[in-house]
Symmetry: C2
Subunit: 322 residues, 2 copies
């Protein structure tokens, strides 16, 4: 029997582990809590978490008939990652610093482990098995709590000079003054993210705009705004128009420079579909005269993009090293 492949998608709260067959078809996935030190403590060796992941992988493998029959493991970690040496340099939301992730997992499991930044892993998923399938030059955005981008050029993921590539969420937007989690003001992610959309909706309500949106417990989600769009709520549609247009001008700059085949809009807020997509496409129609590229589209893998990307990462790196 051909060996199985394990994918691990580490999130700020939960971690999803999936077992795939050799053809990268998902057999089963489980979710476990992401173990991390209490803020503001930091660790360079989250032993308990490593042990928990290893034990879950062994259970998954055995239950699916792959006991001692795994070829390799791929993992996506939210933070600054050096994929070449398998180290998590810094993962602020997890409290990890200089964690030799790959080697610690290899020690426990006896098979090669490959890691990368979660957004690059997500991008890899959409590029190889999702909306970007077949593209060699692709930009993928994740509009979640924050906002980040993955870039693939000639089929290779771009990590940047010191692993800071993809931080488009912190690019300043003229005229925007919201305080960002990073400490600066006016970052793109303060509006172009699920949290940004939520904030814009709260403001619209508080300023007395006519809308069916209502604050429940003082908050409103980007999904609520999307649902209001489906009922033709103009304030809600206006929020996605504004967010899409703002994103579009940043994506135009990127497109003029890199001429990608595909731009994938992913992350939680991408569930809004055409309400986020059409304002972007409209700006491109006006300003970008290359008719063929880029194809701007919503990610097709949803929540699974990270998990699927992690097994593609594992398999391609494993085959390179074989």
């Amino acid at each position: 029997m051909e060996k199985g492949v394990i994918g691990v998608d580490i999130g700020g709260t939960n971690t999803v582990i999936g077992i795939f067959n050799h053809d990268l078809e998902l057999l089963e996935k489980v979710s476990i809590p992401t173990l991390k030190p209490n803020f503001p403590e930091k660790t360079s060796n989250p032993k308990e978490f490593f042990n928990l992941i290893a034990s879950e992988i062994n259970i998954l493998a055995e239950r699916n008939g792959y006991k001692n029959n795994i070829s390799c493991i791929g993992m996506g970690v939210p933070g600054k990652v050096n994929p070449n040496i398998g180290i998590v340099i810094r993962a602020v939301n997890l409290g990890y610093e200089d964690v030799p992730f790959a080697s610690e997992m290899e020690k426990r499991l006896g098979v090669p482990v490959f890691i990368d930044n979660d957004v690059r892993v997500y991008t890899r998923g959409e590029a190889l098995a999702g909306s970007g399938k077949g593209s060699k030059n692709l930009i993928c955005l994740t509009l979640g709590t924050g906002m980040a981008a993955g870039v693939m050029i000639n089929g290779q993921m771009v990590t940047g000079s010191d692993f800071y590539a993809g931080e488009l969420g912190h690019d300043p937007v003229e005229g925007v003054n919201y305080l960002c989690n990073c400490g600066k003001t006016g970052c793109l992610e303060t509006i172009a993210s699920a949290s940004g959309i939520s904030r814009l909706a709260s403001e619209a309500i508080q300023s007395g705009e006519q809308t069916i949106l209502k604050l429940a417990d003082g908050t409103i989600s980007s999904k609520d705004v999307y649902l209001a769009c489906l009922q033709d709520d103009e304030a809600a549609i206006g929020i996605f128009n504004y967010v899409g247009k703002t994103l579009a001008y940043k994506l135009l700059t990127v497109t003029f420079l890199l001429n990608p085949e595909t731009i994938v809009i992913g992350g939680g807020a991408a569930a809004a579909g055409k309400f986020i997509l059409e304002p972007i496409q409209k700006v491109f129609k006006k300003h970008y005269s290359n008719n063929e590229f880029p194809n701007i589209t919503i990610g097709s893998l949803g929540d699974s993009a990270g998990l699927i990307g992690s097994v593609h990462l594992a398999k391609s790196e494993y085959e390179k090293k074989k």
Copy 2:
């Protein structure tokens, strides 16, 4: 004796041909007119020009002791180029369309010929032998009649999905309404280019701003504006501040996305040195907190970047194919 290498830098008016030794040291260069059909005629086979280049190369080789002893030839062409198959798809200013440049030159000279877009060749020059030496991730701008960019990622030149990468000059700038040569309005190159600077200077004079700048024959060059900066002319300094700041915000977007080690400012207007560089660096200092990268600098090869890039292109492609 080791073989020589020929570089050819084709410009809108003149073409420079250089002969280099095996170590890529320039031995001699000559300039010939760029032959092209009269506008609006077009050609897919500029035979006379090919014959002229071939004859000049043979003369150069013989005069420098390299008769029948050239290993390869590199050429930079201003237009849309497919370097993989050696074809100039479109060079609007030259009136060329679908010209099998590399194979036509190979037929005449009997050695491998490699071509690429002039800005990518220029970028290669600065990246391998100029200000960007040692960088694997680099952005290079050419501020000339127009404005374009070259991108190197992991040591590889980025061509884009259909060879349109680098067209940053046509990215729209909010609030700018000048008509661009491309037919659109507000393109970055309508201000961030030698011509753009010239236009801004003319406007400053015509609007009665206090300045030592004077219109000679109705025009003023970006060099004139630079010379006025050297005399502390506030209007001139203001023009470079505005151009630098506008460029900086576009470069910030690019930097957040790609995390390059080096950004090289090249082309004619880069002769302004610190007057164009410092406004860019100031914006980065304010908005980009990665202290190590990018190094933002003026190109060090000046006019020779294209010629030097073309021999580096030739040598590296030749060695790949050997």
